[in-house]
Symmetry: C2
Subunit: 224 residues, 2 copies
DNA sequence: CGCATAGTTCGTCCCTCATCGAAGCATTCT
DNA sequence: AGAATGCTTCGATGAGGGACGAACTATGCG
């Protein structure tokens, strides 16, 4: 009854699971397209579009049009801070569902995140690539190291093409709470993993299952 | 899809107007009963009770039973911080509905807040009482000053009785963004205002309308 | 100029959840 | 004990809003 800033309006925008997932995905700081966010949120494109309109209207998002792509991003640090604050409470208040999570062990190990690999394997891979200076990580940004070109060429991945999407991108992995590798390079690596049949995708799930020899091959190439 | 803390769950708890109002009311830091919160939120007691259960289950509130009264309060500073963060975004993002607010000018001037006076008049009154050292304000806490007893006795209010409820309490006034006086003293003052017919309550509204002579009398006693 | 891709709008279905009145507990006061 | 509060639970009602498929618009590519 007391009139103040309409906090319920803002909170209810975040209070929908699909929208919450989108906002979470945008917490990485990189702009994402509607399709990417639809996948991230696990809803169809029209549904995602509708949610994005609402978030835009609510002032939580900004939109940057680049050619035929439209990149959505968080409206500012204040919004990001709010998400963090809510996340903090959610963590503090509901440890029940976070920890055990044996709901799908395979998902924690490796899964598809849009077009690249996520999960423990993916986080370990990025760590190792950075350790070997093949990739350079600088806070949130990831760049190619001097040896990247030759290293990836050796396994048939060309990192010197200049596509519209960035080659490297950090993507926050919520199951491990660390970053994994996204961008065209992340996508190319996932392609290779599936092409070489090192792993297969679980039907109707994002889980990625490595075969025993496939796992060895993957570790030899990326974790050695 | 990515599993993390369930931020949507928390946000949707805050995303209902009734619950948001309750949380806002509890931002004062004082425990409030279900009935008080029902009034604050503008819903019936059963509805309020249902909302309170959900907030409790969600871990956002704590409950302190004292005799037959049950005082609800925010679960902790983290929760308060979250509300503040959301409020900040709501303010930044929607100045449209905050400023002009001529929807009910009378409400801004003076209105009932549960059992005491709120609005510009109430805020001015508290300021003046503190200025004259009749009341002592210490951050959020308000105490009686040395001359309080005689000052209020002169207008027929006994502040020396020791009821269960605190005599003085600060209550955040959202229209002015400052505190006004609640507690039994606040209630007694409102009683006097209505009893002396300095003002009348608008029917079916929380607005309090002072008559011209009533306003003079009020100012003479409390704002001089 | 078509074709393809990215995105929005429309229409419809359906489910959740907020709301309230009435009745049921529980606690305290007389 | 009986009465009176303060609060919760139950049951029924209704509306808001999230979901998707299909059709439409817009931008870029050959």
């Amino acid at each position: 009854m007391r009139e103040g800033p309409d906090i319920a309006r803002i909170a209810s925008l975040v209070g929908d699971p699909a929208r919450a997932n989108m906002l979470n995905a945008l917490m990485g700081g990189t702009g994402l397209t509607a399709s990417e966010l639809a996948l991230e949120a696990g809803v169809s494109l029209p549904t995602a579009s509708s949610h994005l309109s609402k978030l835009m209207e609510g002032g939580l998002l900004t939109l940057a049009s680049q050619g035929r792509h439209r990149y959505y991003g968080l409206a500012g640090p204040q919004v990001a801070g709010m998400i963090e604050a809510i996340t903090g409470v959610a963590e503090a208040v509901g440890p029940k569902r976070v920890r055990p999570g044996p709901r799908d062990g395979a998902m924690r190990v490796a899964r598809v995140c849009y077009d690249h690999l996520a999960g423990e394997q993916a986080v370990a891979m990025l760590d190792r690539l950075v350790e070997k200076d093949i990739l350079l990580r600088d806070d949130r940004e990831i760049r190619l190291g001097p040896s990247a070109s030759s290293h990836f060429a050796a396994i048939g991945i060309d990192v010197d093409a200049k596509p519209r999407r960035p080659v490297c991108r950090a993507c926050l992995d919520w199951s491990v709470r660390r970053s994994h590798l996204a961008g065209t390079l992340g996508a190319a690596i996932l392609d290779k993993i599936l092409l070489e049949k090192w792993a297969r995708r679980e039907k109707d799930s994002r889980a990625v299952i490595f075969s025993p020899p496939g796992k060895q091959a993957f570790e030899k190439v990326f974790l050695s």
